[in-house]
């Protein structure tokens, strides 16, 4: 059969096939070399001192402990706010909303939020939270900005999880006389927990990698504040922000690569855990 295809056509196909393999190869090689280079330059620079001290101009030492703590606090604050709101929005869209127009407007708004670049979030967060609400440059203002940014992610993943709960569960619960809220609380939410967790992990990934939205809202400070409630009101840079500051303002490339290696480990971990959850979700079904 193949013999009947002309040499020209065969050559044409071979060239295109070669191109396809070349381009996929580029993508994979690119990723592998990026990751190995970051670890090659970064891992050696991650020292105990770097992880457990703060930066001191006096002793001329560099430490990223405050940035690690700030990153953790911002993740915590953002999730504490965005999870109830996002899950609530998804429940509304999936279980309560009867007005189709309103649902499509909400979904359009969520898509619009996804498309807005982080620098715009940074600017509006600065204008609204830092200036209008007088929060100043603080962990709280940064977290609130990120809440809006990751809200669509939480809404979408929760909605997908809710959709997988079989309709018969709902009918069963209502048939037994359960009220709507009771049914949601005891049947729908527990059944979609895995999906919600995977949304939260995705959100953590975005928060950890974010820099442009945080520079104007949470600032770049690196003074150690351990009390959570004190930290909410103070300015503090996350790891990504610290990477930018060390590299662009101080030319500290070794520290930059150390932070990049830490960020990459977090990215790898997040990717691995979402995979794990998705596998569990598939097995359940």
């Amino acid at each position: 059969m193949n013999n009947r295809i002309s040499a020209k056509r065969r050559a044409h196909s071979a060239i295109l096939k070669g191109l396809i393999f070349l381009c996929s190869g580029i993508t994979v090689v690119l990723l592998i070399s990026l990751i190995s280079y970051i670890f090659y330059r970064g891992l050696g620079n991650i020292t105990w001192e770097l992880l457990t001290t703060s930066r001191s101009a006096l002793k001329n030492t560099i430490g990223i402990l405050p940035n690690i703590i700030f990153t953790f606090y911002i993740i915590l604050t953002t999730l504490v706010i965005v999870l109830p709101v996002g899950i609530g929005a998804a429940i509304y869209l999936n279980e309560y909303a009867e007005n189709k127009r309103l649902v499509s407007v909400i979904e359009f708004a969520a898509e619009t939020l996804t498309g807005i670049p982080s620098i715009i979030y940074g600017l509006v967060g600065y204008l609204f939270f830092c200036q209008r609400l007088k929060m100043g440059s603080s962990i709280l203002a940064g977290s609130l900005t990120l809440v809006i940014m990751v809200l669509p992610t939480i809404v979408r993943t929760t909605q997908e999880a809710l959709k997988t709960v079989p309709y018969s569960y709902r009918e069963g619960a209502v048939g037994l006389g359960a009220t709507k809220w009771y049914m949601i609380r005891t049947i729908i939410l527990p059944s979609s927990l895995d999906g919600i967790v995977s949304g939260a992990i995705l959100a953590i990934g975005r928060i950890v990698g974010e820099s442009a939205a945080l520079i104007f809202t949470a600032g770049t400070a690196y003074t150690l504040v351990t009390n959570y409630f004190d930290a909410l009101g103070t300015s503090g840079g996350t790891l990504s922000v610290a990477l930018y500051v060390y590299v662009s303002e101080h030319g500290e490339f070794n520290t930059g690569f150390a932070i990049a290696a830490i960020l990459m480990m977090i990215v790898l971990f997040i990717n691995y855990s979402t995979k794990l959850i998705n596998k569990r979700l598939k097995k359940d079904r």
Partner: protein
């Protein structure tokens, strides 16, 4: 009592539901209110078509044409490199590779999407910029070319994942019909599958454009940040970096002009969002 709880929860969920709408409205209103004063004072035409940006001079000039053109050229360049590579990778994932290899390459794509933009910027600064400097014998490797390369890598994941989904959803009958007519696998892919998936692929490209035009930090680290008119080897400023570069110290009209730049950027992004929505709606309507 039971009824009151039900009503309360219903209201609460409704409020959660409309938070996204409130957020979009608030962002739009803030962008417009804070962006208009400087445009009014400088003059729309002068602002958009002015070729000189000297915000801190004694007689300041606020022309953002260099930023607009740099953003447009930078995005186009990234699309020019990113789309062929991304589309070919999507074709490989969807039509040519086995499930195991497909899963591995897919993980690579997901990881690329997860790398923070500052890390891309760092790699760009350390590897890309010196390489460009040496290859082309320049004094400084920062500039539009470095930014284009970084952006083209950053938009790959969006293009690949959306195009792959579009290619996967092409009805197998189309391809079977093409085989039955004697077309080879590759001919089928390029003459049947890709044309059938074109609106999905377009959505992926538009998504990539949105990502490229909005990227700030990675670009800031490799583009040089001088307000030149765009040229491959010159240090340039994008719309995004024009804002972040001066935000920390700007005051008065200069600060308001930065908000105006953000408004222009916001306008571009909304336009892209609308285009994306139209494409997706048309797809869903089919």
């Amino acid at each position: 009592m039971k009824n009151a709880v039900e009503k309360f929860m219903n209201g609460l969920f409704f409020i959660c539901g409309i938070v996204t709408i409130i957020a979009v409205l608030t962002i739009s209103i803030y962008m417009i209110i804070s962006g208009l004063p400087a445009i009014k004072e400088i003059g729309v035409w002068e602002f958009i078509t002015g070729q000189v940006w000297k915000s801190t001079a004694a007689d300041p000039q606020f022309g953002i044409l260099p930023f607009i053109l740099t953003s447009v050229y930078g995005t186009l360049g990234a699309v020019l490199i990113g789309v062929p590579v991304g589309l070919m990778t999507a074709v490989f994932l969807s039509k040519l590779s086995g499930p195991k290899l497909s899963a591995a390459v897919n993980t690579a794509v997901e990881l690329l999407a997860g790398i923070p933009s500052v890390v891309y910027g760092l790699i760009g600064m350390i590897i890309l910029v010196p390489t460009i400097m040496k290859t082309f014998g320049l004094k400084n490797g920062t500039g539009l070319l470095a930014a284009i390369i970084v952006l083209s890598i950053m938009i790959l994941p969006s293009i690949i994942s959306v195009s792959r989904m579009a290619l996967n959803s092409v009805p197998p009958e189309y391809e079977e019909a093409s085989y039955a007519l004697g077309a080879t696998k590759i001919e089928t892919i390029f003459k049947v599958s890709i044309p059938a998936a074109k609106s999905g692929i377009a959505a992926g490209i538009v998504l990539g454009i949105g990502r490229a035009i909005g990227e700030a930090m990675a670009v800031m680290m490799v583009a040089g940040n001088v307000a030149n008119m765009p040229s491959l080897f010159k240090s340039v400023t994008f719309l995004t970096t024009a804002i972040s570069k001066e935000m920390s110290y700007a005051a008065g009209l200069q600060r308001q002009a930065l908000y105006s730049i953000a408004l222009i950027l916001f306008f571009f992004i909304m336009l892209i969002n609308i285009i994306l929505n139209v494409i997706l709606k048309r797809r869903a309507g089919r």
